[in-house]
């Protein structure tokens, strides 16, 4: 038993190290991309078109049919994914946490409204919501972020509401009410810190999900403008010349895989860290 536990701890460390290594390296490379690749991978060089990967040091990951450097485009394209991933989660957290706090604390009509709305959203798969939304307002970075916020805040609202419902009956909340602490303070100073843990875990995993969703939208031509380099856009491009240039489709996908896997590993590690009871169970 003791041995199993120590082995589990050991494994958890590997999970953390691998997660930081993958997500950290990818984030760092993307953040440094203006320095590493000042041309942003836009430079067209027809004499070097369709260079195979690992054959030319100037183009380690090869070039696309226009002779643009795949490595430069992959690293630059990450900016879109990270920007959309992080801002959409930040927005969804703000909306979801406030809605969840209010509906869990005040209950009644407001609570019913929020929860029924959540039911409706859960019945509609993301991609259908996306098709409808984009058909109305059009694509682009801002609209993609708004769409992700609209579709993801519900998770936070449900999570926060559930925790608030169980915290409402605890002594420290009763005490705070009894000595006349204003509702606003109870919500944000007494309740919020007590449910930060699960919210942070959900956020980490949610950045990963949203990066995947953004790439799907852009791949389908519903998300970010295809002329801006982005992982989903490059994959959509690459599919058309899969026959003679496999590398154009392989590397953006690997970039998504490394980034998202890193975030998922970190989220998993955080969940076990913040919820020690679940450590041996699941």
């Amino acid at each position: 038993m003791a041995q199993a536990v120590s082995r589990l701890r050991h494994f958890k460390n590997i999970e953390f190290i691998l997660g930081i290594l993958l997500a950290g390296t990818m984030t760092l490379l993307v953040l440094l991309s203006p320095l590493l690749f000042p041309d942003g991978g836009e430079q067209i060089n027809l004499t070097a078109r369709l260079t195979k990967p690992f054959t030319d040091w100037a183009h380690i990951l090869g070039t696309d049919p226009l002779g643009r450097d795949v490595l430069a485009r992959v690293i630059t394209g990450g900016k879109i994914s990270l920007l959309v991933g992080f801002t959409s989660v930040a927005g969804a957290v703000v909306v979801g946490v406030v809605m969840g706090l209010i509906s869990g604390y005040y209950r009644g009509f407001w609570d019913m409204l929020v929860m029924r709305f959540a039911d409706v959203q859960l019945a509609l798969p993301f991609i259908l919501l996306a098709i409808t939304f984009i058909a109305i307002v059009g694509g682009g970075i801002t609209n993609t972020i708004i769409l992700l916020i609209v579709s993801q805040w519900v998770q936070y609202a449900r999570l926060v509401r559930g925790s608030v419902l169980s915290l409402n009956d605890r002594e420290f909340i009763h005490a705070a009410k009894a000595i006349g602490v204003p509702d606003f303070k109870i919500l944000f100073q007494h309740l919020l810190p007590n449910l930060a843990g699960p919210v942070i875990v959900l956020m980490t995993l949610n950045v990963a999900t949203n990066i995947l969703l953004e790439s799907s939208l852009t791949f389908l031509g519903l998300g970010v403008d295809p002329t801006i380099p982005s992982w989903g856009g490059m994959l959509a491009d690459g599919r058309t010349y899969l026959q003679n240039a496999w590398w154009v489709s392989v590397f953006p996908g690997l970039a998504i895989l490394f980034t998202v896997l890193g975030l998922n590993l970190l989220g998993d590690w955080l969940r076990d860290l913040l919820d020690p009871t679940g450590r041996t169970e699941t």
């Binding site: 859960l122 019945a123 991609i127 259908l128 990963a208 989903g232 489709s249 996908g253 998922n264 699941t282």
Partner: protein, 307 residues
Amino acid sequence: MASFLLKRILQAVFVVFVVTLTVSFAIRLTGDPALMLSQGAGSVTEEDLANIRQALGLNEPFIAQYWDFIKGLFVGDFGRSFLGGTSVSLLISKALPATLALAFSSMLVSIAISIPLGIHAAVNKGKTADQVIRILSLVGLSFPNFWLAIMLVLVFSIMLQWLPPSGMSGFASFIMPAVTMGVILTATNVRLVRTAMLETLRSQYIQVARAKGLSESKVLYKHALRNCAIPLITYFGLQFGGLLGGIVVIERVFNWPGLGTLAFDAVAGRDYPVLQAVITVLSLLIIGVNLLVDIAYGLVDPRIRNR
């Protein structure tokens, strides 16, 4: 039980109402179909536009249009496509079986992989096998489904030339789409099977089965698996929505003649009756399956009813 049933059905009807109302309303916001229809048709007068609107019923108030839509829904009449005037119900009735066939084959692939793997992980909890399966399932959650689809096409259609890269034509054409979605589903399902199994393996009847000397495979597959079948069927049922959403994307890669392809063509051509019908049919399916799962679970486990 009756009140539980009634409550769940009323909830489902409410969700259907809100979804259809939102979709109909939202689609009206996307612009004037008469203008788009007449684009490229040479000189178009205001009178022509008015005629088109009259013909399409766009002059009616929104509530009347919505009411017509709901009436049509009950008799399976979704109007006619703006492009070519084909009956929308006909388009749906051709595309729906293709999508459902893909959904069920993906489900089968996923069950065939995730049950043995999940059981193996649960039995070897904390050991290397469990950790490898855990990492693999995390990897499976970390790439977009369409990328896996592209990679399969690259290997099996372009390099090895074993499988057709697109279209729906016989058994071989099902393999890559079903494996793509099956693998994505498996990433989640393995964990669900493992958790359900761990819980069951702690039960006393498992100890009894072992104590009376049954073989390990009999204990696992006959006693334990049967007892965690109910939660598993529930999980699998509730995944249906996500599965359909994923298939809509995958259809794009494989040119699968299903609802997803229909929807994207409708978006590109601003063919609102078709888009509205696809979204309505898909949401009805999902709400229906979720309702059935809930009711079935309530029938089997009385504790759920009182929640």
